[in-house]
Each structure stands twice: as C-alpha cells, then as structure tokens.
Amino acid sequence: MTPPTVPVLASAGADFSADTIGLVFIKAAAILVFLLLSVLFALWFERRIIGRFQQRLGPNVRGPFGLVQSIPDALKLLLKEDITVKGADKVIYRIAPMISVFCAFMIFAIIPFGPAVQIPFTDIITPLQLTDLPVSVLYFLGIAGLGVYGIVLGGWSSGSTYPLLGSVRSTAQVISYELAMSLSLVSVLIVAGSMSTSEIVNSQTQLWWSVALAPAFVIYLISMTGEVNRLPFDLPEAEGELVAGYTTEYSSMKFAWFFLAEYINMLNVSAIATTLFMGGWRAPWPLSAINDGMFNEGWWPLLWFLIKLWGFMFFFVWLRATLLRFRYDQFMNLGWKVLIPVALAWVVGVAVIQGVRQFTDISLQTLLFALAGALVLFAVVLLLIPEKKPAAGASAATAGGSGTPGSRKSATAEAEAFDAFAGGYPVPPLPGQSLPPSPRRAKVTAPADAGPATDKENTDG
C-alpha cells in the first residue's frame, strides 16, 4: 500500500467559519420549524391535489382554501389515548418513533437552502445551510439507513403480526432500494468530485446533473420513492394487506411521529434530489443568465430551492394518484434486476467516459460513438440471454438443479418444519395451486396475491 497523504479539506463549498453557536441554534430551530410547517402544508397539498386528480375539491373549509385543515388533524392526534399494546417490548416500542422522527429531522442539516446571505437587521453573513460535511452524501445515506430502524423496531416491538410483516417488508424494501439509490449518486460524485452538498451545488453552475446524468437521475427518482415507502411502493403499510403495516399498533403522538417522519422523509429525499441533480438553490437556466446571475444571490435562491423541492413533492403526489401498488415480487424484481444492474452499468459508463476524457486525448465525440456501439452490442447480447425461469414444479422433476436456495424450499422445507400456527388463517388456494400443508406459510410467502388495493385515502387521521 502506498501511504496516503493527509487530505486537504479543500473548501470549494460554503464557508461556515463565521457562524457562532447562537446562530447555529437559530438556524437549527428554523429548520425544525420549516419542516413542521412543510409537513402541515404537505398534508393539505397532497389532499388538495389528489382531490383534483379525482375530480373533487379536497379540504376547503378550514381557513383560506382549507389551508389550516392540517392543524386540527395534528392536534387531534395529540389528544388521543396513548396505547401501549400488551405484547409489546415496552422500551423499544417507545423508542422506535423517536428514532424515526429524529433521523428524519437530521437530514436537512446538510441541505443548502441557498448561498451566503446577510441576515436581515444584522450584519451577519452566513450560508443558508446549517452545516456541510466533506462526506455529506454519505451522511445522508447513513442517516436514511438509520431511519429504517425506527420502522423495523417499531414493527417488531409491537408484538403483533401485521406490524411485524410490515417491518420485515420495510427492511427488505429499504435495503434493496438504498443500493440503487447510492449507486445512482456515485456518478454525481464522480463528476462533482466531492461529497459535500454545497460543493455539489456549486459544481452545477453550467449544467444540472439531472440533465447530464439523466439515467442516474431517473434511478434516483424511482429508488427515492421506494425508500420513503410511497405509492407505488408502499408495501410496508399496504392497507389492503397489512392493515396499517408497522404502525398498526401505534396511536396518538407515537403514531404522529411515524407519520411526521414519513412526510419529512419525502421532503428529505426531494431536497437531496434538488441539491444533487437539480442544481440545488441555483436558478433555472434562463433566469440564471439574467443580470450576471442576480437571481443566484441574496435570498432569491431560497425561492428556487423551494420551488424545486415542492416540484418533487408534487411528483410524489402525482405518482400516488396515478399508479397502483406493486406486487411484492414485482417490486423486488424491479429493484434487484433492473435498477441495480442499470445503476452499476451507468456508474461504469460514467467512470469510463470521464476517465477517457480526463486521462487520454480521445475526443468526446469518438468516445460517444464507441459507447453507443458498445451499448447496442450489449443490448443485443442481453436480449439473447434468456432469463432462467425456475418454473415452480417443473424444475424439481426435470433437471434437478443443485440446491438452488430458492423457490420450493419455502413451500416444502418450511412446511415440514415446526409450525407455530397450526390451524391458522385459511387462505383459499389460487387457481392452479393446491393447498399447501401449512396455511400460515402460504400466507407469509405469497402475501401480495391479494390483488392491488386501490384505496386512495391514506393514513389520514
């Protein structure tokens, strides 16, 4: 190993050296307030827009356009009885919502709302960002990963079946989509050369990465939806299947925290998308050219940022209004067999192109042509390889694959094994299926077959 040298923490990003501890407290509190208000607004926003999609009005009674409808909804939760279920693991049951909400709040600490501004009525100049790390992107992934513990532990500690299923699903889902998400971010890091959010924003003065790295952006969009359990990927709390998923046994403020965390998480991933792909607080192109980038200075960028942020929020609502819930196997297939390979290939592609551009003299045009050719070739090859279909009963009888850790095992081995639920819940066999020996097993392994539930009303109080 060649000894690495001491890194120079080069700061092309925001400068926080002038921040005092008091200012930090103010900024943090401001973020907190911003998030709480945003959630309240998001609730109204979502209901209104879904109303529009469904040819109805949505909440329109309390306040102008029904704007304050969310406040009584939130207060109602506060006033409800705080139930702790008998079978619950008391400590973890209470900690879980805290984890969720804590992690949700933490991510906005690294989101740049804007460049350095002068705070009104003072002469303090400070960036519109709480803090920035050299590893901000990693921090985001880390906190996002940690947030899942809230869901997992919450579901597990309830000591009840539906929450447990929800939490397990949620685990599998989050880890599946987190991979695609982190892979899609790699290409941004390659071109930006930094993991600091403010530096990444600064690297997008010429071109937004959502344009240059469109495939990565698309992958990010899909996986962020999966990451925050929104339709069409809301399997952990799928009402039609799991009642309310991991929140089934929660009530009052504990439920409220989960609920809050979910909406803040939507804001989080939207903010990250804005920062990493949409130029952050930078003004969109025609505006950015106006008057020497006048709109990129002062308090203007906050506006651009919010617009972009709420653009993504709208995207979430639009998806919810439009799409049906995936079946679990479709969902996992999409994650593992489409998103991850594509993301991987994309990373390699970006790296190679970037490498050729930086380290050789080959012109970009030649390179792109070569790449296009390679892609076509790859596509052809991909079409030629048939996907191995482990047809349920057939393969066992014919080839005798060597110990595939797969399909029939759950049906056979598991069924033979210890069955805690003898005489469990009857589930009718589907067409072409015979009743497996253990009814409970069948229920766990094929949960999504109940058909897509189309209930539009979400977890509204």
């Binding site: 190993m1 000894p3 690495p4 040298t5 001491v6 890194p7 094994a417 210890f418």
Partner: protein, 99 residues
C-alpha cells in the same frame, strides 16, 4: 476530550464485546459482540490515524468494515440455518459435539 479518551473508549468497547462473546449464550448476541470488537478496533485505528496524522488507519478501517460485512453475511447464513433447524440460536443447545 483528548484523543486518548477515544483509545480508552475503544478499549472499553472491545472489552464489552469480548465479554459479550464469552458470556452470552445466544449466537446472535455473541456475534454482535464480535462486531462490537471489530468496531472498537476501527475506532482505535481511526484515532491512531488522527494521532499519526496520516490516513493509513482510516484506510484500514475501510477494509475492516468490508471484512466485517463479509463476516456478517457468512455468520448470518450459518446462524439462520441453525436457527431454522432447531428453532433456537442458543449456543447451549449446540452441544452435540461436547461428547
């Protein structure tokens, strides 16, 4: 808080992990003890890297994380398979080889 405190913390964590492995009878918990030990070592590496002012220790920590992950995968595979067989991950139940 000097860097030495980190070293002490790392030592404490390492000891806790070691004691966990030796005392707890649940394979999963024992295994978590091992992971705690690895992470204690990581903390120590990073602290020393800071002390020496180079990045060796941090790079090593990366490798350790990878190894730990591989260990987790293998360990989980083994523990899960035993759990599925016996419905228990207790080390006391795994004593067929004692005699």
């Amino acid at each position: 808080m000097t860097l030495v405190h980190y070293l002490v913390l790392s030592g404490i964590l390492f000891s806790i992990g070691a004691v966990t492995v030796l005392v707890r009878r649940n394979a999963l918990v024992a295994f978590m003890g091992v992971e705690l030990m690895l992470n204690a070592a990581n903390l120590m590496l990073v602290t020393f890297a800071r002390m020496h002012g180079d990045l060796h220790g941090q790079v090593i920590a990366f490798f350790v994380m990878v190894v730990a992950a591989a260990e987790v995968v293998i360990g989980l595979a083994i523990i899960v398979s035993i759990h599925r067989t016996r419905g228990s991950a207790s080390l006391d139940d795994a004593n067929l080889l004692k005699n």
